[in-house]
Amino acid sequence: MEVLRLQNLQKSFGSVRALKSASFTLDEGEVVALLGDNGAGKSTLIKAISGVFSIDRGEIYVRGQKVSIRSTRDAMDLGIETIHQDTSLAPDLSIARNLFLGREPVNLKWLGVFAPLDLAKLRDAASALLKRVGISKKLDADALVSTLSGGERQSIAISRAMQFAAKVIILDEPTNNLGVEETHGVLRFVKEVRAAGHSVLLITHNIHHVFQVADRIIVMRRGEIVAEQTVADTDLLTVESIITGADMSALLKETRAK
């Protein structure tokens, strides 16, 4: 069952064509790894899906329905949760307040932005969530995020994406700057997220991680998708050569020679 389909997404920044034309689909309960060198357009692609900026051209379908994503709020309402490369948390806020940022439980809803936070509910829900993702022993929902390690922050960001029963969770280089232990924690989360029926789009530079958690691989180069393969049908070396473009140049040489 298809959850997300992109058709011909294009995005330019001035004269830089960051996204020339990208099309792919993401199925339910599937982990797709998005690979490519720095500047290939990976972050641009996922920022377009998550509503950070609008696309120039192309179509996005969620569960077969054509949608227009104009803001991060639109994406969230469609069940697309993104954990951006540049950290997604506010360090001066508590874990609980971060977990519900933008979706705060409130009393007296008619007061709009002036409505009082339902602090008891906020704390209880945060504790329950931390317990569910298995980090409640170490972390207090009232602790400030600035006191957490990088891995703990990443775990918080991922559990936040899980809590709203998102259909699609997008992770942009979630294991950057993490220790070994913390990286394993994040990969375990990805597996749990899939087991819970969510789909994951994982951007990473670490091909070993891809082979541990992904079902399918998509490779981008210079704003285009240049390869798509299921993990079962390929191996580490092949993928590595596709990313760097080595196979292409070899192929070109062959054709020219003929």
Binding site: M76, H84, A90, D92, L93, G102, P116, L117
Partner: protein, 326 residues
């Protein structure tokens, strides 16, 4: 959170260290000069306090969201001047003139906010330019002369500058404005959804935006709020002293920012405390008042004020470091 941990984090909080420092200062001044705590002197301090304090409330929210406003002192001067010109030269009803003055403040705040958020120029540069524009406008339209302010008794005088006695203390209604607005600000920053957004925007704007928080709109409204509060404070002041001067409020922007950061709000955004600002406002007012009483020579005031502010900021920084280490 265990009780012990909670208590120690309270003691380490910047509001708490400001409060201790404030009490120490009160004690020093009271011992140095018995008149410091006399009803007359306390009444005097309380007359000035709300005028800067009200601006400081807006500034606290704005700083927490990661921006600040240097044009508040100029707006403090311009708003009452415009009101009085409308009344005296334009024969406009005083109520309508006050409303027009506040709308002018809304416009100034909106322009600040729009330029900062939509064009992306730092609030330092935008509001510094606005300071010059607004102060220049006040000087030009008055040709540099102070105006006589509204002094006919009536609803608006009572509302803005009425006074009442409690025992031998004499207070102005502006104190109620300050108390009421403080309670509102505490509520908004600590308990309302909006407060969560304000802190998040100042702490990590991109994270807040990624969660669907309308960061630009929030900032624009905070610029408007700060401007309106500065104008309101200017009107209160002009009504109290029955004069609207085009140079009123000169230098207030720095005094207000000092009150806010001395109270423990971070200049870099994300961490704001209204209680701290109230203590900071009380502290700066009593320092200015106390050093006069204990006989510091007039020209040396700012040396003392500056040293005390520095000492407070160093204390906050050390406590912060300590907290991070533990």
């Amino acid at each position: 959170m265990p009780v012990g941990k909670r208590r120690s984090s309270l003691i380490r909080s910047p509001q708490f260290s400001s409060l201790i420092m404030f009490i120490v200062l009160l004690a020093v001044f009271a011992i140095a000069d018995a008149n410091f705590l006399s009803p007359l002197n306390i009444s005097n301090m309380m007359a000035f306090l709300p005028e800067l304090g009200i601006i400081a409330l807006g500034m606290t929210l704005l700083l927490t969201a990661g921006e600040f406003d240097l044009s508040v002192g100029a707006v403090f001067g311009l708003a009452p001047v415009v009101v009085m010109l409308l009344v005296q030269n334009g024969q406009v009803d005083i109520g309508v003139a006050l409303l027009a003055g506040l709308l002018l403040c809304v416009a100034i705040g909106a322009i600040n906010g729009l330029i900062v958020t939509k064009i992306g120029i730092s609030s330092f540069l935008v509001t510094l330019s606005m300071l010059l524009v607004v102060r220049g406008a006040a000087l030009y339209i008055t040709q540099g002369f102070p105006l006589k302010s509204w002094d006919q008794p009536g609803f608006f005088v009572t509302l803005l500058a009425g006074s009442f006695n409690i025992g031998s203390f004499r207070f102005y209604t502006s104190l109620w404005w300050f108390v009421g607005l403080s309670l509102l600000a505490i509520y908004v920053l600590r308990y309302a959804k909006l407060g969560n957004w304000i802190s998040a925007i100042g702490s990590n704007r991109n994270a807040a935006v990624a969660r669907g928080v309308p960061a630009d709109a929030v900032k624009i409204w905070l610029f408007i709020l700060t401007s309106v509060l500065a104008g309101l404070a200017g009107m209160i002041s002009a009504f109290r002293i029955s004069a609207a001067s085009p140079v009123a409020g000169t230098g207030y922007e720095l005094e207000v920012i000092a009150m806010v950061v001395v109270g423990g709000t971070a200049l870099t955004g994300g961490r704001g405390t209204i209680l701290g600002t109230i203590v900071g406002a009380l502290m700066l007012r009593s320092i200015r008042n106390g050093i006069v009483l204990i006989g510091v020579p007039g020209l040396a005031y700012n040396i003392f004020v500056g040293v005390i502010i520095l000492a407070m900021l160093i204390l906050h920084a050390l406590l912060q470091k300590n907290a991070a280490r533990s």
